[in-house]
Symmetry: C2
Subunit: 312 residues, 2 copies
């Protein structure tokens, strides 16, 4: 039996685990890295994390999910806006440094695969997974295969244009992307703008405003907080409605910090889906929530790596 480590490398944190074939983790580590803008630093952080969770056992393969546009098969990172990387042969560099087979996927692809294999997506024919974290990530599993599209960038709705040209700025450099409205980072930026204008007074403290801060403020009657959450949820829901029409999934799986933090977001997402999707397609899809939470990406990345080394 192969010993496989899974890694979830996000824009601000890293999580690693030694993952059994059934998805269970016998050893895990997670830490905030505060932004690994140099890929070499990321590689060294991954090497240390692999050593830490392996506890001296020889590792046969490493699977990584990274918040990036990753080319299929090669593990080449074409763009990682949240890490600041452009054109990094990440898979190749890592494989050389670690000396074992390495599989690199977009983080949401690893998460979707984890939920499909071990979580709330088990048994789905056509699974659409959407995580509302710092950003808006999504991925598709259909017929037991991760959707990649032609280059590997398929499956993502975060950068669908949802607002006008003078809409909020997205981490990708454009304005009006869905992620610029409903990701946790976007909510924090938009809240900061409102606070600078003397609004959102019920939220105190100096740090970034979280979705949970906004949820509490909205519950206590702050209309600005409610509008931020509901507008973001509505835009996401309408985009999901359109995607449901096009993909005809049987399961839509939702998760991530913002999703679980805000009832206003959840209600608006569901209403947006009902509004935008055709009733005939809408009734074919079951909406479920993430079962694995923050460990889905680690489990999925490890399983994808295990398949690579097990393949004939």
């Amino acid at each position: 039996m192969s010993v496989v480590v899974g890694i979830d490398l996000g824009g601000t944190g890293l999580r690693a685990g030694l993952v059994a074939p059934d998805g269970k983790m016998s050893s895990t580590r997670s830490f905030e890295h505060g932004g690994l803008r140099n890929p070499v630093d990321a590689i060294e952080a991954i090497v240390r994390a692999v050593e830490a969770v392996a506890c001296g056992v020889k590792v046969d393969a490493v699977g990584i999910g990274v918040a990036a546009w990753v080319e299929k098969a090669t593990g080449f990172v074409a763009r990682a806006p949240n890490l600041g990387w452009v054109d990094v042969p990440f898979g190749e560099l890592l494989e050389r440094r670690l000396g074992v087979p390495v599989v690199v996927h977009n983080d949401l692809k690893a998460i979707a695969w984890g939920e499909y294999r071990f979580g709330a997506g088990v048994g789905a024919d056509t699974l659409l997974v959407v995580f509302l974290g710092t950003g808006v990530g999504s991925a598709i599993v259909a017929g037991s295969t991760l959707w990649t599209g032609a280059r590997g960038f398929g499956g993502e709705i975060g950068h669908v244009k949802s607002g006008p040209d003078d809409g909020p700025l997205c981490g990708c450099g454009r304005r009006g992307c869905l992620e610029a409205y409903v990701g946790g980072g976007a909510l924090a930026r938009r809240a900061a703008e409102l606070r600078a204008k003397g609004r959102l007074k019920s939220i105190t403290g100096a740090g970034d405003v979280t979705a949970l801060d906004l949820e509490r403020a909205a519950m206590h009657g702050d209309p600005d907080a409610r509008v931020l959450l509901e507008q973001g949820g509505d835009l996401l829901g309408r985009s999901l409605g359109a995607v449901i029409n096009v993909l005809n999934p049987d399961v839509l799986l939702l998760g991530g910090g913002v999703w679980f933090a805000s009832q206003y977001v959840r209600d608006a997402v569901r209403e947006g889906i009902d509004y935008a999707s055709h009733p005939f397609l809408r009734k074919s899809v079951r909406i479920v929530e993430s079962a694995l939470g923050p460990t889905a990406g680690v489990a999925g990345a490890a399983d994808l790596a295990r398949r690579k080394v097990a393949a004939p």
Copy 2:
């Protein structure tokens, strides 16, 4: 070598052909049926068409593309708004009547498969096909497989909600579907409404206004005609931009009567795509036009049937 007939059954016309393995047609028939609202009439029309193109040769299989939501594998028509059918076991009925293996697909799936196998989609990794005819049809071929989704209804953008709740009525019964803005039927309905208000005066004649009528009127300076074409094209383009983001296709193939009739529509579609898709995904996709035109569906349906009888 199997003798295979392909059929394209649309809302108003039927086209049949005896199709060789290379997609070439040695014998074809096409006629307007004026709306086969009884499936039994459709079956008899198909039987006659098969006999006509077979010219006495024994047929081994028949493939059909029909303007309908067709369940995968079974050929069960769940809904065919343009024909007025609901819950018709069409594949089963046809197979019993014809006495040979029958494969039924949605018409756009047959068209997309035809273009993928024999037309402008040959060699595509991830192909998105959109035909602007009476309605707006689309389908996806990825990794040499037609995208079906969980029940078989996937691949379609025509009923994505693109306008408000009081937007134009769609053939599916909802308001604001994309198809209610840019399909040929929708353009005719919207033009008729304007003419009833004394607008579009440059268009004379009593029949339905076509996309070509509108194109000519727009070219001669009629602002209403131009708005109809450009609004429809823009909404389609923006929806396609979103789908390009989600699917990461390498080829987008466009065709159909309205597409070829109107430069205003074509320009607006391209601008809408550029607006809504992320530049990073946009540059991965090549936009091409249908090579097979109205025979794509016949060729595709026949090839899908040939594969079924050839499969081990």
